[in-house]
Symmetry: C2
Subunit: 267 residues, 2 copies
Amino acid sequence: MDVDTGMETGPVTGQAGGPDAGGEIAPPARRPRVQKNVTTALGLDICSERYPVGTALPKESDLCELYGVSRTVVRESLKILATKGLVNSRPRVGTVVCDKAEWNLLDAQILEWMGPRIQDLDLLGCILETRRTVEPVAAEFAAERASVQEIADLEAAWKRMHDAGPDTEAFTRADVQFHEILLKASHNQVFRQLSSIIHAALMYSLHRSNEVIDHRDEALDIHRDLVEALRLRDGAAARAASHRMLDTAVRDLAPALRGGRQDADGS
Amino acid sequence: MDVDTGMETGPVTGQAGGPDAGGEIAPPARRPRVQKNVTTALGLDICSERYPVGTALPKESDLCELYGVSRTVVRESLKILATKGLVNSRPRVGTVVCDKAEWNLLDAQILEWMGPRIQDLDLLGCILETRRTVEPVAAEFAAERASVQEIADLEAAWKRMHDAGPDTEAFTRADVQFHEILLKASHNQVFRQLSSIIHAALMYSLHRSNEVIDHRDEALDIHRDLVEALRLRDGAAARAASHRMLDTAVRDLAPALRGGRQDADGS
DNA sequence: ATCCATAAATAGTATGACTATACGGGAAGA
DNA sequence: TCTTCCCGTATAGTCATACTATTTATGGAT
């Protein structure tokens, strides 16, 4: 993140940059690239429910003032957010925040913007269900289809987990990479698209579990078994290892999933 | 589709609309809304490999002339395409088409733009694998979680299939809707995001299978069994019905999947 | 031959003006 | 009084132009 996360809305550039009044020598007029900052700021404000679902954002000209940028930048940012399903613009009505059912949950940026709020809407539960459904199959496919290089990459990721030692952060990072490589090695393009959401979920859940040393040792063993199964092209073993992996995830996440499943959609 | 599909690139508006030369009474200057048309045209041209992966699109000012629109429209269209992972713009370099691995395959518009080319990259095979992985689980979840309304909607979709008679088109439409409602009834938000891709794949594959009367009768039976299982809240039966459904899909699509799996990614 | 400065090309930003669209209220009609 | 239609108005959509930032390519100096 190269943006001030958590910042309140406000000028994105240090230079207010109003029209250069007077016929002076025209000071150079700085024009930094602020598109990403504005998009991120708006995305964060939407995902944090600062602009709740169904309400309208300030009109474009107001957003220009708020962030101190031109309408060009604001409009292009809104177009990006609209493409992600976050908002919907209509003349005379304004730009309204879409229902969460329309949000593109597989979008990495949205998940980043949601941050800890990923726990809303049972999202963590949904993702865990998806992992339990998809990952064992992906592991089985990977056993058949993974290239030698991909298996080596998996082993390298495992080694990074192993060598992380007491560094929980590094351990989690390697763990996430492991699962991304696995999805890729399944050679199913749809599965690979799920990487982003699994990435986000793991970053917010693995970290906790991985703080327990015992758990990390157990995870290391299972991950190694999976790599070994891929090397032997043993689909059943790979599937079994993946299942074990997810069972421990369920066990460790159970406390965080309290509250049962509610109807989260607007039907 | 409210756009001239298959059209070559060219002015999107009938009115060339150059700058009104002279100090005349300023003829009204038509300004139709052309954003969607331009985006669609560019999307089609990219997905049809008119602009192959890795190559650069014409520069923005050229695109303005090509489509007879302002740079604003072109830029916002490119921003949309960039958000979908189709292109990537950089100063001095231009706007280059991204590798297909970065395309957002879960995006309904992209799938629409790909049209029959959905068969490239083993996409049809990947989607079928995904369905076989996800749909039975979704059916099982739906058995537990579907609302009465959702089950009624499923039954209504089934009835539309039943009543379609010889209208293959209507039958396929209802069939697709059935599967979308099922995914929604699983009350797993990630599963629901898969609707778009399953929708596209079914529209391009079911149509063929559904032309055979025998198959349609069989499909009707299985779909009814699934609804019945949901009504009885029998997860195992729902799962079994879904499995049977997909087995017939595999059987019917087998001819279209010849050629085996190749490595489609650029690793 | 290598490296650095300069130039050129292209996307990014800014501004102001106009148009199309859709909501809301008021007038005309039942 | 209620309904329908029209029109004013607010807001996003489009257009044109000018300028800035960034990156590649070129050419010259070491």
